[in-house]
Symmetry: C3
Subunit: 310 residues, 3 copies
């Protein structure tokens, strides 16, 4: 993590209210913890146990709370609480503590999970461990995210189902009282929308990877290790079994099942269920092999008709 610009040890010491021991003109370019620290960087040591390691590290500057002689080419910055000073500096450099108030107090977030600025977590949202939620992601009330999940910016998890009843007074909205469950090891691209269930859960199965701008409707259940390319749209109440691949801009109507291992080529449109293990293409979709034959035939039509006329 680098400073906006390199800074002399003297200036950094002044900023941190530290006493500077050693060459105060040395330039410091950033901060790093002791296992990763490089030339030009500042690390910290708050225990005499680690001081040898710190002094032997590549660090150019070390925050310490005891007095040592600075080794050649290193500078020590003496403060009361090296860890606290280092942490504060790290927060300042990350600059991502903003908008923390966008997380509902009833949300539960696991250890190692990073929430970037602008992330909104509604009431009773739960997020597992070691997830990375990128800036400006919105997760509505009650949604449940597993471990090791990555969600990219702009994505919206848990918006209401598109579900109305026509009445003489216009459309009546049916409440979405379900939720969204995202299992472990899922990655969701930027600007996706995954709606909550009406009465049940919308599920994204373990290990499934979803590209940008993918829409997944209410109560749809996606299996494990699926791959959906950008701009795929899946309506509500669809079942997608494991290992299914949908390429870009594929559209899937509501209430269908796509069998295990099916592959659907780009821009195809599904109005009926598909058996697994087969590759499909077209709108309306057909087996890709047949569709390709049909396309070849259509190309030959002018010649065929010409000949027949003769």
């Amino acid at each position: 993590m680098n400073f906006p610009e390199a800074i002399t040890a003297a200036d950094l010491a002044a900023q941190l209210n530290a006493k500077c021991i050693g060459n105060s003109e040395i330039k410091i370019v950033g901060i790093n913890e002791i296992h990763r620290v490089e030339d030009g960087e500042l690390t910290f040591c708050d225990s005499s146990k680690y001081i040898k390691k710190a002094l032997a590290s590549k660090a150019t500057a070390i925050l310490v709370n005891e007095l040592f002689e600075a080794p050649q080419g290193k500078v020590l910055l003496l403060v009361d609480k090296p860890f606290d000073v280092f942490t504060a500096l790290s927060k300042e450099l990350r600059g991502d503590i903003g908008c923390a108030e966008m997380v509902s107090p009833s949300a539960k977030v696991g250890e190692g999970t990073v929430l970037m600025p602008g992330v909104f977590l509604g009431k009773n949202v739960t997020i597992g461990q070691d997830c990375f939620i990128h800036p400006n992601v919105t997760i509505y009330d009650g949604c449940c995210i597993g471990n090791n999940v990555i969600i990219h910016s702009g994505t919206v998890i848990g918006a209401d189902a598109f579900y109305y009843q026509r009445s003489p007074q216009g459309f009546k909205k049916l409440n979405s009282s379900g939720t969204v469950r995202i299992e472990d090891d899922v990655e969701i691209g930027a600007s996706c929308t995954i709606d909550r269930g009406v009465t049940s859960e919308t599920v994204i199965g373990k290990g499934t990877k979803i590209d940008n701008m993918v829409q997944i409707g209410h109560d749809t259940v996606i299996g494990q290790n699926c791959l959906f390319a950008s701009q795929v749209g899946i309506a509500g109440v669809v079942t997608v079994e494991d290992d299914v691949i949908l390429w870009g801009q594929v559209g899937v109507q509501k209430d269908l099942t796509i069998g295990k291992g099916a592959v659907v080529l780009g821009q195809s449109g599904l109005a009926k269920s598909l058996k697994g293990g087969i590759t499909y293409f077209g709108s309306p979709v057909r087996e890709a092999r047949e569709k390709m034959k049909e396309l070849a035939l259509i190309k030959q039509l002018p010649a065929i008709i010409e000949e027949l006329k003769r």
Copy 2:
């Protein structure tokens, strides 16, 4: 509205600087106003007029500013200003007061309307009553939203028209000096984009419901009680009359009219205006009945040609 975890009346009293009267070990799980309050919850009473009702309610704890004996199974928390304490607690629990500075001071927001965190309202935006604007919605300067409108997260209302003039120096941008008007009872899904007019208004008519990721271009006028499924894209200067249904991923070119009650099936592409009251399909679009016949015919082509050749 629940606390992150149930809390004893004693701990809550300490947190609120209140005097605790009654069983201080009772657990409080959340807060609720007097008409809705349930077992385990805290409510408030700031007028002797309502104290009977409060004492007779299901509330487990009551914020009061006068001394009463706590009825069996209830606890009273004595503070100077019950309403203020309750409101502060409510704000804290909602956690949605963040980013309030993202609302321009010239924006006008009607009674009963909820702006969630991360909502941006530009200059002179007006929003009617009883709307719900979900987190991270952006509404550009001057847009006008009616009553009972719901807008889901990530949606952008009022971005500039996609409108350029080619010149030897590249594309010249034409300013979008129009706006967007959204009438009463409209619901707009997550991550939609509705551009402002170039000189006039882009309009979404009363009662129309729009799913996620729908694009609506500049100066387009949508009628009442229309239904647009996810990933529909409508270009600029289109007129969509009342009661039109567009299914998923339909694309509409600029400058067309779609007649009242027309239904367009998924992935269709419109390059010309459509009469109302008819169902359409295909890209380019045709009457669905004809298109279905054509598709059936194409499927029989191999057999037909085979026979003719013989």
Copy 3:
């Protein structure tokens, strides 16, 4: 920049702790700097050098720090520091200083560039001069934006590539260590996603204009002065040469080249490279002229077959 409502000079003076010289009943409608100020507006002058210009300007009110006689139809507001008062007023009116903490300290932003609220800039992002970044835009670490660039709300620049390797344990993510470079004079619509390169740059060439909800994959290089309509999706590692036009909902597979000046009509799907200077249509795409002939022929099929049968 206008006040929510016009305000009398007397009220404004009271609000600013200023002494009001001249007609205190004059209405002030907003603020503007000296080169742009109009009737009814307030400007400021903090140097005797500019006082003549200020007094001769169209301004109705002027913040000054020296005593002058107010000319006919003008009012002076005397304060200690006109510039500071004007700046504070401007910030208050813009209301867009919120969430400033969403900008990494290592980001560099050029003069004249406006960052609206909710904008996130990651580490080492650089943005040139005179750009306008609309609310709730996310720019990931290390992305580089040129001069005179406009990015509309909800757009995400620099999310990770959709790039996995299948393994017995599920998909392994390949790190995206590249970045995104957006050249001068580009405009990007609302809710677009432009992924970072895996090892290299994703590039948007000078003067190219992109509509809403357009997806551009990793390591794709877009030329100059291209035009992409809404909901276009371009996969990774594609080369789009200069002056290419893609209409709405066009899909482009990975690893292709689209030649200079090609035009691709709406909803077309590209699975192979295209020569420049030609208009294309269809999914799979063909030259538009051929595709149109084919469509006409298909429409005549019933009649032709009927006749042949006879």
